[in-house]
């Protein structure tokens, strides 16, 4: 019988892959993709506790629905910013976006 631990482990591994990608990748779009990966890991955790938690209920699924909506909104704005950045500076490398670097 599967329980909380296996799903939480999967979520943790996915989150760490996303974290590493967001910290090391050089293409801005891939950084954004890695952030989506981390959000997916969080969604798996929420659904795990909605199904196997102490008080299983539908509320976890509702929260996941909200997370997905916010993630979609975030991604739309992020991609628009990227397109606009690329148009202005003609690069998609993270390390070139250092205008506000101290």
């Amino acid at each position: 019988m599967l329980s909380v631990e296996q799903f939480l482990t999967l979520g943790a591994i996915l989150f760490c892959i996303g974290l590493f990608g967001a910290l090391t990748k050089r293409n801005i779009i891939i950084v954004l993709v890695s952030i989506e990966l981390m959000l997916n890991a969080v969604n798996i955790n929420l659904l795990t506790f909605a199904r196997f938690g102490l008080m299983p209920s539908i509320n976890g699924q509702i929260f996941t629905l909200f997370t997905m909506t916010i993630a979609a909104a975030e991604l739309a704005v992020g991609l628009a910013v990227l397109i606009s950045l690329y148009r202005n500076r003609n690069t998609s490398d993270v390390r070139d976006q250092d205008l506000m670097k101290w």
């Binding site: 599967l2 509702i62 979609a72 739309a76 628009a80 910013v81 397109i83």
Partner: protein
């Protein structure tokens, strides 16, 4: 680590899916071409949808395929095509940055794994019968969403419309005066 798990169809399916998801995640990290990275994230999204199915969230699994694997992956591909897409990440002189990132991510992962596995927290025991037994998942979500969570639902729709209008405004080419 996973001792005491009976080998049933469910556990085998879970481990196959988990392996697929993690393999796609590692492909995302290790691919050289940006377009392959974006395609491998599609695999992660589809695998996550399968995990949602195992967690008895059928509606969310469907939404995941529709929204993430369908829309977001394609939008990523569009964005990559609109920017420099034939660029290959060149091997750089080794700096300390990826090493520190790896140490940080691995340390964070180990902390979580310690909490999950070895810290002695008594996780709630899984019940073999589902808490949502015999109930329609979509109906349950709809009832909760429109009874208990009406105001957050409306707020989220406002957030979504503002974000999309803002995205169009940002990406729109400004007129030259």
């Amino acid at each position: 680590m996973f001792s005491g798990l009976a080998i049933t169809g469910q556990t085998v399916a879970f481990f196959v899916i988990a392996l697929f998801v993690i393999a796609c995640g590692v492909m995302l990290l290790s691919m050289k071409k940006v377009i392959y990275m974006a395609l491998s994230i599609g695999g992660v999204f589809i695998g996550c949808a399968a995990v949602y199915l195992m967690l008895e969230a059928e509606f969310l699994a469907f939404i995941q395929v529709l929204l993430y694997a369908g829309a977001i992956t394609i939008m990523m591909l569009f964005a990559i095509m609109l920017t420099k897409h034939d660029e290959i990440e060149k091997p750089e002189p080794i700096t300390a940055h990826p090493v520190w990132a790896a140490i940080g991510a691995a340390g964070f992962g180990l902390v979580i794994l310690w909490v999950v596995k070895f810290s002695g927290i008594k996780w709630p025991q899984a019940t073999p019968d589902s808490p949502f037994q015999g109930q329609d998942n979509v109906k349950l979500i709809g009832e909760a969403l429109f009874n208990q969570y009406v105001i957050p639902f409306e707020l989220v729709s406002v957030v979504l419309i503002v974000a999309l209008v803002g995205a169009i405004t940002l990406a729109n080419k400004e007129e030259k005066n």
